[in-house]
Symmetry: C2
DNA sequence: TCGTTAATTCGCCAATTGACGAATTATAGA
DNA sequence: TCTATAATTCGTCAATTGGCGAATTAACGA
């Protein structure tokens, strides 16, 4: 029951649902999620913590950057099925499609630029470099979302 | 997105999850749910309202009694899939098994007796008579839960 | 028609949640 | 080593939620 409620609670918030849907395309760093979701870094961080508690997402640290991705095949069945339910149910949601579109433009930008822009407008920031490791996890993320 | 969040919000509370799981065995009246869940009638009523808003359950009025049952095949795909996810994920939960056991003893009792006991201990109450219509919906409920 | 009663709605309170900024941690680079 | 920075944790606040009892609604039955 603990895990079930952690999952439903985690998915009972629009921002968190949008974050999970955004990760369908592969892993993202916090700064990209901040850019997409338009909330303060500390707020995003807390949301990601809740999603991670529910085992819906995993994270990988690379230097100063933390990359988040969807839970893998090692996740509990309840988690994988919940993600499958969400993706199927949200596939044609206007909000999700809009986010997917905006995410595309975010991914086209140099993460450094996103970082700098956030630095200027706010005062804390994060961004991700396009390292080989990141490319690998992005590919894995794509494979996962395709498999569902 | 509206429906998705209504569903996850509705299922993000232990009492409501227990109520939905209890309805797997067929329809129940509010008084039986009060007995099972051990909360005030007004509280149960509010929970059922939220579940109904999310289209996870439906209700049927029979005289003074209102019988709740799981959503049927006419419910949106997201709803039916969410219920299927919940039933699969909660199948072996100790809390659910315990509730199922206690529900059995509740169902064995004459609803009138449950009603009277609630009347005495509290001062508001509800119960359900074993009418032919109730038996029909109970049967339908069993068919639904078997199909998942 | 008038009580009785199953259930809901309403109003209130304590606890939780989501948001933010400030402070902190950890890592890269000068 | 010292600075800059990506991200988190902490403290605070307003808004929401879950709980209850009281009042209300709707339907049966004397």
């Amino acid at each position: 029951m603990r895990l079930i409620l952690a999952i439903t609670n985690a998915l009972a918030d629009e921002t968190r649902v949008r974050a999970v849907l955004a990760l369908q395309g592969g892993e993202l760093c916090v700064c990209q999620l901040i850019e997409l979701l338009g909330l303060a870094p500390s707020t995003i961080s807390k949301h990601l913590f809740l999603l991670k508690q529910a085992q819906l997402i995993e994270s990988r640290k690379e230097g100063r950057w933390i990359h988040y991705r969807l839970a893998g095949d090692d996740a509990p069945q309840a988690v994988r099925d919940a993600l499958a339910w969400l993706f199927a149910s949200a596939a044609k949601e206007p909000d999700a499609l809009d986010d997917a579109k905006r995410l595309k433009t975010i991914l086209k930008q140099d993460p450094e630029d996103i970082c700098k822009r956030q630095m200027q407008s706010l005062k804390s920031c994060s961004c991700a470099p396009a390292t080989p490791a990141a490319a690998k996890w992005r590919k894995a993320g794509l494979a996962i979302s395709r498999a569902r």
